[in-house]
């Protein structure tokens, strides 16, 4: 409720001093309604531009990051591949998010992933390490068991205990920035699947029921914001891909606080029926969010 009040206040202030982030009548009208959006979908621009428009429609990053707070941004940096292969989150987007966090007054912005390939190579070749450093963020290893703390997941069905990265536990704000792509087992990998990179023992997921563990994982701490990078979308050979030919340039982005909703919308973008993705319904029954997009107030932006 606090956040909503804050947003309302800031909207009021925004209108009062005449600071409109969008120009034109349509933009101003949409601003008035922005507190009500459950999901923002943007298409047609560069990743960083889509983000700027999208986050503005939610009241800017200051709706999520308060001054002096610490932020952890969790992109997908799982694979040692270059950005055009679409296996990792777009580095330009990460740069822009970190900048917005600092502009909103964040004290520190941390970025990490428990990568699949060699972590130094992943960080470097994905372009994310450079993007983070250029934006003034702090890049942190995800390959050190000492940084993970064991937690109990009371609402989980299978993953009742796991070790989570300390930044997920200690940061004030948790921003999840997955890349939308194909996955050989779960068909689609996106926001919920991305949280596997916050856990130390990934093989537990594979051993004990991948879909249920994916749906269990966010029950400990749901991300405060999910930003789905669907600029380049790997349509086949996922999650690693073998060449840029696996990708299409979809030029889309989704932003929401609801991890199930954002995944459901992403799966629709991917061209698949959400009912076919097992972890979505399991996530919904774990009360992580809703798959019913019709019940949501969706704001659609075309650039």
């Amino acid at each position: 409720m606090e956040r909503r009040n804050f947003i309302k206040k800031s909207i009021g202030a925004g209108i009062a001093i005449g600071v409109g982030l969008n120009t034109g009548i349509a933009g101003n009208l949409s601003e008035i309604k922005r507190n009500a959006y459950d999901l923002v979908a943007i298409k047609g621009g560069e990743a960083e531009d889509m983000f700027k428009k999208g986050i503005a429609s939610l009241g800017g990053m200051k709706s999520f990051v308060k001054p002096n707070q610490t932020v952890v941004v969790k992109p997908n940096i799982g694979w040692d591949t270059s950005p055009e292969k679409g296996a990792d989150t777009n580095p330009n987007l990460i740069y822009e998010i970190i900048k917005h966090c600092y502009n909103a007054g964040a004290k520190k912005v941390y970025v990490f992933d428990n990568t699949c390939n060699n972590w130094q190579k992943c960080y470097k070749n994905s372009g994310i390490e450079d993007a983070v450093k250029n934006a003034g963020g702090v890049i942190v290893t995800g390959k050190d068991e000492g940084l993970y703390q064991e937690v109990e997941l009371k609402n989980a069905k299978i993953l009742s205990k796991t070790k989570l990265h300390e930044l997920i536990l200690s940061s004030d704000v948790f921003i999840n920035v997955p890349v939308l792509k194909n996955h050989n087992s779960t068909t689609v990998s996106c926001a919920m699947k991305n949280l596997m990179g916050t856990v130390w023992d990934r093989s537990f997921f594979h051993k004990n029921g991948l879909s249920q563990c994916i749906a269990d994982c966010p029950t400990y701490r749901k991300p405060d914001l999910n930003i789905v990078d669907a600029y380049r979308v790997m349509k086949t050979n996922g999650p690693r891909g073998i060449s840029p030919n696996d990708c299409i340039t979809m030029k889309a982005q989704l932003i929401s606080t609801d991890i199930v909703a954002v995944d459901t919308a992403a799966v629709r973008l991917f061209g698949i029926n959400p009912e076919d993705i097992t972890y979505l319904s399991k996530g919904q029954s774990n009360n992580l969010g809703t798959m019913d997009l019709k019940s949501l107030n969706i704001y659609r932006i075309s650039i």
């Binding site: 298409k43 130094q120 050190d144 000492g146 050989n184 087992s185 991948l210 073998i242 919308a265 629709r268």
Partner: protein, 536 residues
């Protein structure tokens, strides 16, 4: 002038030692591979080895070593040999730490032993095995000690610092992954470390003058050196200060002669002598310097061949010893294969491999086993931690040579580090495009070990990690999918085996005896791009 020899030697030695330590501890993983080549360029055994395999002039650093030896004797042993310098360092600290003064005195040469070890190293070469040369080569021994013993110790220290900093939320010194070699493969480097420590404290450079085949070979060459260290009998007062600091124990004051074949050119004696009685002298006697004679037109003067009966006996004995060892390895190999593929009680199959994978670029197991001296530089440099020193995985012919161990890691798709750094031509250079299709082994899937089969849940960790999608998931039952291997696409990187959560593994890589070229993955271009309308 002669007073400058020792400081100069020490400066060069420290430089050589630090640069080699730097690469074997992998202090800068991002360092350009050309530095590895420069730093190892003048190491005798790798250089000769590489020159024979590649016939490249760039790998001919050994010629410099031979020329230096023909000029001033075995200065390689004091200035460039990392194991030699390491012994000097041990000796230096032993002197500082011990209460009793460590003083050397003349000792008789152990000729029989020297030639036995030389024979042990060289004769198997003609039988096609480099194992013994590798086991005795000082550079390779240094490499094994540093990679397998000191590098893990360094990482523990590094991580200790890193962890402390992370406690206070400073993440700029990230910890490194601690990958250590199997216990049985570090026994030998431990043994050598023990031996050289003990020998160097007690008897200076006894290892170099008895066991080391390079020392013996260069010692032989130094008989023909243009300049030799000699005692001026007119100036010498037999104060014995020189022989007390001679770690080669080769100064015989009774006769005032120096056994120059054992002198490692440390110049301690020259530095110590207050009467300028000891120093380099031009030595142009009858058995001197074939090169000078060749230059002056008298080519190929046959050298007087000494026939030493004891030498022959040792040659014979060492051949016997070798054949016995080969027999042992053959037997253990047989036992290993028998154990292969035993069914466990619970219906799973324990995996026993026929052949390990050799690193990409090593052509074939035969080429690799016959060339690698197991210096383990590639093990130190491997960012994936998949390259590990073997024990008997290759059999005795590849003892301690690196192999791909998917338990520890897997081969990074876009990495050619091992072939870039290999100093001896065992792993030949590969372009990144070539690496992408170099098949070092083939994955084999064991369905009844697989999580999908046993638990009825999704997994696909293997296919997820497969860089060429040689592992595809096909529908299995109602909601599941299960991997299949396309062995034409598989390059044997071992990522699938490494990440397979099943125990025992449901997928494993069987090494290729000869490395083959895999097919390039099929690349279908995706048609559609930007969306017109949101589908929700």
């Amino acid at each position: 002038m002669q007073k400058l020899y020792k400081p100069l030697r020490i400066i060069i030695a420290i430089f050589s030692f630090l640069s080699l330590s730097f690469i074997f501890l992998d202090l800068n993983p991002d360092m350009n591979s050309i530095w590895y080549k420069i730093i190892t360029w003048y190491q005798l055994i790798p250089s000769v080895n590489s020159f024979i395999r590649t016939a490249e002039f760039l790998s001919a650093g050994f010629i410099i070593v031979i020329i230096l030896t023909l000029l001033w004797g075995r200065i390689y042993c004091s200035m460039f040999c990392p194991l030699g310098i390491f012994q000097d360092i041990i000796n230096f600290f032993a002197k500082k730490l011990s209460k009793k003064k460590i003083r050397f005195k003349y000792a008789r040469p152990k000729k029989k032993l020297r030639y036995l070890f030389l024979a042990l190293a060289v004769i198997p070469l003609f039988l096609g095995s480099i194992t013994f040369l590798g086991l005795l080569d000082p550079y390779s021994n240094f490499g094994r000690i540093f990679t397998n013993l000191f590098k893990p110790a360094y990482i523990v220290l590094h991580n200790f610092t890193g962890d402390l900093l992370m406690k206070i939320h400073i993440y700029s010194v990230p910890t490194k992954e601690l990958v250590y070699a199997s216990l049985e493969s570090i026994i030998y480097p431990l043994l050598i470390l023990g031996i050289i420590t003990w020998l160097s404290v007690k008897w200076g450079r006894l290892y170099c003058n008895t066991i080391c085949p390079v020392g013996t070979f260069l010692g032989f060459l130094s008989k023909f050196s243009l300049f030799k260290i000699k005692i001026d009998q007119n100036k010498c007062i037999k104060c014995a200060k020189c022989s007390a600091v001679c770690k080669s124990q080769c100064i015989e004051l009774k006769t005032q002669e120096i056994d120059f074949t054992r002198c490692v050119g440390c110049f301690n004696c020259i530095d110590k002598c207050e009467h300028k009685a000891i120093g380099f002298h031009l030595s142009l006697k009858k058995d001197t310097l074939p090169i000078i004679k060749i230059i002056s037109g008298k080519k190929n003067i046959p050298q007087k061949k000494e026939t030493d009966l004891s030498k022959r006996i040792f040659f014979g004995e060492s051949i016997l010893f070798l054949s016995a060892l080969t027999g042992i390895s053959a037997k253990s190999e047989q036992q290993r294969r028998q154990k292969n593929r035993e069914r466990n009680g619970n219906g799973t199959t324990r995996i026993e491999k026929q052949h390990p994978c050799s690193p990409p670029g090593s052509v074939s197991l035969k080429h690799f086993n016959n060339t690698c001296t197991a210096c383990n530089l590639c093990v130190a440099a491997c960012p994936g931690g998949v390259l590990q020193p073997s024990f008997l995985q290759y059999g005795l012919e590849g003892f301690l040579q690196p192999y791909m161990e998917p338990k520890k890691g897997y081969c990074s798709f876009d990495c050619t580090k091992c072939s870039d750094v290999c100093p001896c031509g065992a792993i030949l250079p590969l372009s990144i495009e070539k690496k992408h299709t170099t098949q070092i082994g083939i994955a084999h899937f064991v369905e009844h070990n697989c999580v999908v089969f046993r638990e009825g849940t999704l997994c696909g960790a293997c296919s997820e990690h497969c860089p060429t999608k040689a592992l595809k998931m096909i529908p299995y039952g109602k909601d599941l999918n299960i991997p299949v291997v396309d062995s034409e696409l598989c390059i044997g990187c071992g990522a699938c085996e490494h990440v397979c959560p099943a125990d025992p593994k449901a997928i494993f890589v069987e090494g290729n005896i000869i490395q083959l070229t895999a097919k390039k993955p099929i690349q279908k271009k995706q048609k559609e791009g930007a969306i017109d309308e949101f589908p929700f």
